[in-house]
């Protein structure tokens, strides 16, 4: 199993996730340049990560242009064949734009970019990236985005909740899910979701920014540890 990190020209969290996977988690990690197709030896055992950043500048709408990039044609096929794809921040936006995940990420309620530590909890512990996280654990993981307010129509939201596709919700320090603890105005405080076949994941918080003791926070590593335990089973 290896990880492929897609690099768009405006990706800027690519080096961070590569560092964490290679040097903290000791995983084989390769770079996938946006102009190239997926390499031949990339199999369904491997994982693709779409990192944070501003893919093609994102002047229009975050991820709106990235969905048309050459690599994304392959990523969509890979996911439709059951391959695992995980989008973080801009990656999540791109997955919604490409139709691999439902709903949309629109401008934060306060109309500002927000970068700070937030608290969130696991809503569904039956996926590979959440299964290993201790029950009722409140995770501190930073966000950094201008367009992170998750919205979808009522039918879709009901479906997401019924299918247990909501992975993470913003909560306060005590775990309560309320408007005060909602940094960007997302519906139902949604911070991350998966598709109905549970092989495509998207989240706005940045686990790679909370993966090392040297930075004083390793809550984000729990997701990666969970992924590795479950993927290798």
């Amino acid at each position: 199993m290896k990880f492929g990190i897609v690099i768009f020209p405006g990706s800027n969290c690519d080096h961070d996730i590569i560092h964490v996977l290679r040097n903290v988690m000791h995983q084989e990690t390769i770079e996938l340049w946006h102009k190239n197709p997926l390499p031949k030896d990339f199999t369904l055992d491997d994982w693709i990560i779409l990192p944070g950043g501003f893919s093609y500048g994102d002047y229009l709408r975050a991820g709106a242009i990235a969905r048309f990039s050459p690599v994304m044609h392959d990523v969509v096929d890979f996911a439709r064949n059951g391959g695992h794809v995980w989008g973080i921040c801009n990656g999540f936006q791109i997955l919604c734009e490409s139709g691999l995940l439902p709903g949309a990420l629109v401008r934060n309620q306060n109309q500002q970019f927000i970068c700070k530590n937030i608290t969130l909890k696991v809503a569904n512990d039956n996926t590979s990236i959440t299964r290993g996280i201790p029950k009722n654990k409140i995770l501190t993981i930073p966000i950094a985005h201008a367009e992170g307010r998750y919205i979808a129509d009522k039918k879709m939201i009901d479906q997401l909740l019924a299918n247990q596709q909501v992975l993470f919700q913003y909560c306060d320090k005590n775990g309560a899910i309320n408007q005060e603890a909602n940094p960007n105005g997302s519906m139902h405080n949604i911070a991350g979701i998966c598709n109905d076949s549970r092989n495509v994941f998207g989240m706005m918080p940045h686990p790679e920014r909370a993966a090392e003791e040297a930075l004083g926070n390793s809550d984000g590593r729990l997701l990666l540890e969970s992924l590795l335990q479950n993927a290798l089973v």
């Binding site: 020209p9 405006g10 800027n12 969290c13 080096h15 961070d16 560092h19 964490v20 944070g52 950043g53 501003f54 093609y56 500048g57 994102d58 002047y59 500002q112 970019f113 927000i114 970068c115 700070k116 530590n117 930073p142 950094a144 201008a146 940045h206 790679e208 920014r209 993966a211 090392e212 040297a214 930075l215 004083g216 926070n217």
Partner: protein
Amino acid sequence: MISTDTEPKVNIEIAGKLGLSADEFERIKEILGRVPNYTELSIFSVMWSEHCSYKNSIAWLKKLPRKGHHLLAEAGEENAGLVDIGDGLACAFKIESHNHPSAIEPYQGAATGVGGIHRDIFTMGARPIAALNSLRFGNIRSARTRHLMKGIVKGIGDYGNCLGIPTVAGETYFEDCYEVNPLVNAMSVGIVDKDKVISAISKGQGNPVFIVGSATGKDGIHGATFASEDISDESGEKLPSVQVGDPFQEKLLLEASLEVIDTNALVGMQDMGAAGITCSSSEMSEKGHCGMRIDLDKVPMRQADMKPFEILLSESQERMLVVVEKGKEASVKAVFDKWDLNCTQIGEVTEGNMLQYFMHGELVAEVPADVLVLGGGAPVYHREYIKPSWYAKNKQFSIDSIAEPENLIEVARHLATHPNIASKHWIYYQYDSMVGIKNTLTNHAADAAVVRIPETDKGLVVTVDCNGRYVQASPEYGAMIAVAEAARNIVCSGGKPLAITNCLNFGNPYDPEVYWHFVKTIQGMSRACLKFNTPVTGGNVSFYNQSADGGAVYASPVIGMLGIMSNPEKHLGMAFNQANDLIYLLGSSRNDIASSQYLDSWHQRRDCPAPYFDLDEEFAVQEALTILNEKGLIRSAHDVSDGGLFISLLESAIQGNCGFNIQLDEAIRPDAFLFGESQSRIIVSVDSQMKKLFEQTLKECNIKWSMIGTTGAKLLKIGDQNFGTVSEWAELYNHAIEQAMEE
């Protein structure tokens, strides 16, 4: 040479309109041995503008200490200072102003300021890993201030966030004197392998010259000239002088510029900031003692029918001039192709020292490179300076003329919610402070930002500091304090100061009182930099920060200091993190409230000098702290600065969510003890079991100190008074600016 019909005829009036004096016009004619055409005159006007030539400051700047064994480039030699940080690495860092553009068009003005300073760093081959900024606004209650602040903060955020360089630290002040003319100073810090540094040089006759990055448009023409005059009602008409930023292009340029170094095909590279092609081609040629021929019509352009002088002076952003070894063009072009950037040959290096600019084969301007640039033929002026009449009188200020406040809690609340002191998170939450996963400040509040150096366990320690009120009151001492505070912040975070970059923001240099502030600032800064062994590696001077009716801004010499933390275990934070620790004050309390925020905004008094400061005492206190930290005897450290002792204690309490109980000092007035800003003081918390060893060590340090109380509970207790809970004070402190912005 014939000037084209469409160009204005050159005479002394036209020269004046371009900001050149009659003397300067005469000198140009002497140098060329003829009357320049309009294109040539435009070239001189930008290159000899204050902004590019430093003509009114360079004589004094040369008196600053600029040498140190750890410096790899002397001030002015490269685009930014270069400091040896060990492990084969160097740190390139610099601060620069973008005040005037931000006053007219806050969003683009601030954004392009950020873009420009990062380009200065990566043009040297260094990857920027941290950004800082220093902002000055008018009263937060004014609609203009809030408008500027929203635009400037968003501009800085949008540019830096897209580029993926974290903003790790900064400072913001609100004073009436900045109402019309805000200050926007941006700093970039980068890392480069010592043997991969790229120089801004052109040499080797026949080597091709490329322009890379964005196409050239009509934006920013005469921007450098605009930055060299006072802000007035007509300044709005200078809007075309403001450039427009494209952070995505800059991100491509950043990655491509760093990648192209590995081709080993570069002779030199220089970013295009002020005065665009003119400045980069002349500075690179002068440095390499050669000439250059440029075909202006080959420059990729955004619009048709650009005139030669417009192409030469355009300050379109996200561009570089690159000189390549002849024969290696293909490998360079391949890198820029990969990143979908223009890379077009526009000329070549020539023999001699002449810059020749052609348009469709016709020579349109011909000027020797060396006469244009700083250190070459650019003018150098010695300006008159006069000590202001109020200075002597203000020194007579006595605390006895100020009534003691009846209610200390009210004063404390006023200070904790004053926008100069309250939490600035309304600002910095809009900046990506964490991208790059090197900034430790997120989970470890400290006086300076500690940024991990890749592939080592060391950290760069960086801060920007300047209290303009102090400098305005007593420039020599105020400047020393700015350097001392920066060093103190670095030491309080576990670092060792190495070097500084400065951004000297002043009013009109032709005003002798403004110039006196400038001269005294240089003298004070020199003394402090020598004491701390932190040479000046470069920076920027911004004059003409004043308005027609408001006068000059406070003298604001912003210090950006670089330090290093060699051992991550010595990383210090400011939070009170344990109950029942002992709280010590290193340094002495004084009956001094001069120039404090308390005196300024509570008593509305400004007729006073800077707070008490003694350079030797300051140095000794910092040395003592370093020794205590080396021995592992302290749990937290936080310096006493704006708002005095109370605010420092409050900040440590809020960060650790832990209260304190301290005693007043009977020899000192309670208001001076709590809110005075006399310098050279640091609060530390100490494990009570370490008391004996701590005090023993301190006694050997030859400084004044006292134990003032203990940490614990969730209350703030001072003397016999209960000031309230940590959480209610945190609420006030954290939300004051947010509330003011919503008004």
